[in-house]
């Protein structure tokens, strides 16, 4: 390097440095600093013009180191420069001494100065923030400064005889020695970047320079080299490259469409909004977009879209929606976050995107817009399908005529539809939300329903009926627990459909009663047909039989028996007529209903007694306080007539017959009990039920058809009352009691 023209060393594409140096020399300035570019490495250089030795001293320090120092210590730039200048003065002496000696063939004074400057040089070398190493002509290391030792990770004792080639990184081992040899051969400056491997395995990137040293004969006496640690820069470079690759990978492989729109002319952001919208639609083009983005619009690759304008994508769109979209972007500071847009791709297919974009504003101008876009068509369609289905479900639930409700796992009502609220007599859903479901169940049913509730919480559905508690109106309900299972498989709540079945229950009970009644009627009818077939046939047998007898008796002229035969026939015909009349009566009951009226029983009894007309020796006692009851007068008259004529009939044999009609003092709230008592032949208690059956007669010697009491019972029961008989037994008389319920 020594002897070389400065301009050869200082490579500055702008050729500023030599000019600057010339300016410096011309101005007579002795000391200056300037930025320079040396082989692509930004450096800070210090120049010192030393007229005493007619030399110019230049010190280069990588700019980064200086800047780092300044930043770290917060020393102002001027102080930094001063530091460098200070460094230059001694260095200039040491560094350029050699050439000075050579150039000017110095005197002895110079020799003394040499020894002195050598010392300074060594001191400087020790502290300079660069590695400095020297070797002899054979390549053996003769000097290495501390920086160098630190960098190489070796001790000073190991330096001598140390071969730097062996320390090269394997990948650099072929290249670097070749470069070195070429430089040595041409006596050129060796400049290279390569890696050292430290004994501990660490790799260090260095930027190295070396040049030959010549002895007085002009032979190469050795080499001096300097290098600086550029590991951090190299790592930064690598990181930068990796980042770049990664970003490209991200962009290419992203499921998001990514684009960059650049404005043809940067758009002033103070433009009126409508003009901005025009500019955004037409004044910018796609400068970049990934394939994913392109495919969203029906293109094959991002390259196809380059140069296109937003308006071209909007052609098939609803313009109003686009304007709204751009408006919101402008008003939001050229930013869009997760905004949904509905668009069409170039095939006219409807697509839905979630948009994010950010406009870059520089000096009041919008220059470009970065954006990402996600195709959410499927998701939106699925959401809409879910919404539609939910809407359907909601409509169904709200308009269903049944009470539909949800309860949580604690048994509290969460929701109830309109029909349910109506059923509960509530207006607002809030009136029932939170109410305890089991609390509304009557005590008798609660344990059973609670058990079903527990099962439902475990996932078992059930249907059941219950009666509501008194507070809740004691009505009957049918209800259900339907477990609703969350995606994780756990039951999260219960749904139920409840119906007020009170009326249905009543109807069921009524139906059961009717069935029972019908069953009774049927049995009675069966008995009726049976007895009718028997009892109506009886007189016919008599008639038929005695007609035959009559024929014979007439033929034999047996006049006595003829009369008997005729009497028998007439009697049988009478019985038959009576039977038919009473059967007709019986069939009328329930079929023919007379309007109910208030009937004073005292009057009714007297009028019946006139018809029955008991013999004068029969004592008849009628309680004067007989009540007035609301009933069917005609039917009730038949009851009294039957009971009174029975009483007369069965007291015939008594020497002092007595008939009493009365009323028992009614119990609280109960219907009065009327009675007809006689002191006649009485009834064995075992027959007290049977006598009310159709065609039952205890005594065949008595007149009658066996229908009378059946008739009485039918009438009384039709009035909602009851009839029964009490007797201590034969010969003790008997009492018929009856009540008249509601007609």
């Amino acid at each position: 390097m020594v002897g070389t023209d400065v301009s050869q060393v200082v490579v500055d594409p702008a050729a500023k440095t030599p000019r600057r140096v010339e300016q410096l020399l011309a101005s007579g300035q002795d000391l200056a600093t300037l930025n320079t570019n040396f082989r692509g490495l930004q450096q800070l250089a210090g120049y010192a013009h030393m007229p005493s030795i007619e030399s110019l001293v230049v010190v280069h320090v990588p700019a980064k180191l200086v800047e780092a120092n300044i930043r770290n210590t917060a020393i102002p730039w001027a102080i930094g420069l001063a530091l460098i200048a200070g460094l230059l003065i001694p260095l200039s002496v040491g560094l350029l001494h050699h050439s000075y000696v050579q150039a000017h063939q110095s005197s002895t004074i110079a020799t003394a100065k040499l020894s002195d400057s050598e010392e300074r040089f060594r001191g400087l070398c020790t502290h300079v923030p660069a590695g400095i190493v020297m070797c002899d002509a054979d390549g053996g290391c003769t000097y290495a400064n501390d920086y160098c030792l630190d960098l190489m990770g070796i001790a000073i004792d190991d330096v001598f005889g140390w071969s730097w080639v062996e320390r090269l990184h394997p990948e650099d081992r072929d290249r670097v020695p070749g470069e070195w040899r070429a430089a040595v051969k041409d006596c050129d400056v060796f400049i290279s970047e390569f890696r050292f491997v430290r004994p501990n395995g660490d790799v260090k990137w260095v930027f190295a320079r070396a040049t030959a040293l010549f002895d007085s004969d002009g032979n190469v006496s050795g080499h001096v080299g300097s290098f600086i640690d550029v590991t951090l820069q190299k790592q930064a470079e690598i990181t930068l490259r990796q980042n770049e690759e990664r970003n490209r990978g991200f962009i290419e492989n992203s499921s998001q469409g990514i684009y960059l729109c650049e404005f043809d002319e940067p758009m002033p952001i103070d433009l009126p909004e409508d003009e901005q919208i025009v500019a955004l639609s037409t004044g910018c083009h796609f400068a970049f977009c990934n394939d994913v983005f392109a495919r969203m619009y029906g293109f094959e690759s991002g390259e196809e879209m380059l140069g296109m304008r937003a308006i071209e994508l909007y052609q098939t769109h609803d313009n109003e929606a686009n304007v709204e979209f751009l408006q919101s972007m402008i008003r939001n500071g050229y930013q869009v976050i997760d905004e949904i847009s509905e668009e069409f791709d170039r095939h006219g297919q409807r697509v839905v995107f979630a948009n994010n974009c950010l406009g870059i504003v520089e000096d009041g101008y919008l220059t470009r817009v970065w954006g990402t876009q996600l195709d959410v068509t499927d998701r939106v369609q699925a959401e809409r399908a879910v919404q539609a289905s939910e809407e359907r479900f909601r409509t169904l639930v709200s308009s269903a005529p049944l009470c539909i409700h949800e309860i949580d796992l604690e048994g509290r009502l969460q929701s109830m539809n309109i029909a349910g609220l109506k059923m509960m007599g509530m207006d607002q859903e809030n009136d029932v939300v939170g109410a305890d479901y089991l609390g509304a169940v009557c005590e008798a049913d609660r344990d059973r329903i609670a058990a079903l509730f527990d099962e439902a919480r475990e996932g078992t559905a059930s249907e059941f009926e219950f009666t509501a508690s008194q507070d809740a109106g004691a009505r009957s309900f049918s209800s259900s627990f339907i477990p609703i299972v969350a995606p994780d498989g756990q039951v999260e709540r219960l749904m139920g459909i409840t119906e007020d079945i009170t009326d249905r229950k009543l109807a069921e009970t009524e139906r059961e009663n009717l069935i029972t009644e019908l069953g009774q009627k049927n049995a009675e009818l069966e008995r009726f047909t049976y007895t009718v077939s028997h009892d109506l046939k009886s007189p016919l047998v008599t008639i038929g039989g005695f007609l035959g007898m009559l024929e014979r008796d007439l033929a034999e002229q047996n006049l006595d028996t003829v009369h008997e035969d005729i009497r028998e026939i007439a009697g049988a015909a009478d019985v038959m007529k009576q039977l038919l009349d009473q059967l007709l009566d019986l069939s009328r009951i329930g079929r023919v209903v007379n309007p109910a009226e208030d009937v004073p029983f005292g009057e009714l009894v007297s009028s019946v007694l006139q018809i029955v007309s008991p013999a004068s020796h029969v004592r008849v006692v009628v309680n004067p306080d007989l009540p007035t009851l609301r009933c069917d007068r005609i039917r009730m008259r038949e009851v009294l007539q039957n009971l009174l004529s029975n009483a007369v009939k069965f007291t015939q044999s008594h020497s002092d017959p007595c008939i009493e009609v009365g009323v028992q003092k009614p119990q609280d709230g109960e219907a009065p009990v009327l009675f007809v008592r006689d002191n006649g032949i009485g009834i064995d208690p075992q027959y007290s039920e049977r006598i009310f059956d159709l065609f039952e007669q205890l005594d065949s010697s008595m007149e009658g058809t066996g229908i009378g009491l059946t008739l009485c019972r039918r009438i009384v029961e039709n009035h909602g009352g009851r009839i029964w008989v009490q007797s201590a037994g034969p010969g003790t008389g008997c009492t018929f009691f009856f009540t008249v319920g509601a007609c």
Partner: protein, 160 residues
Amino acid sequence: MEGKPLVILLAEDNPSHTRLVMRGLEQNHFSNQVFCVSDGEQALDFLHHRGDYTDAARYPRPDLLLLDLRLPRVDGLEVLKQVKSSSELQTLPVVILTTSEAESDISRAYELKANSYLVKPIDFDRFSDLIRDLGFYWLAWNQPPFRNRPLRSEPLCDET
């Protein structure tokens, strides 16, 4: 008819029917001893020599019971049941003589071991024939159980 007259108990609540049966028997010259009762209770009393019928000499044990079904107090089927479940009376032939043609009555009567079931015909000639045949069958042809066998030298069929 010869030999010791057979004893018949007729349980019939309808006095006209009683007279018809009696007349029918008389006309066919069955000179039997016929006792009439008008309800089930009396019939049982008669058979068990109870109540009004304790005098066993006056009210002998019958050889045949003619039983109506619809009887007051204790109905015919109940009487039949008691007769057939009594160790003393079970061999007594019981002929049901009734107006009822109801299937339930007929099957119930046979279940209770009635010996025969006869329906009273309305037509007089047939009624008359029935009584005649009834008399012949039960009083002449039928061989009663030994215990109640009347003291008779020859069976009816050997007389010809």
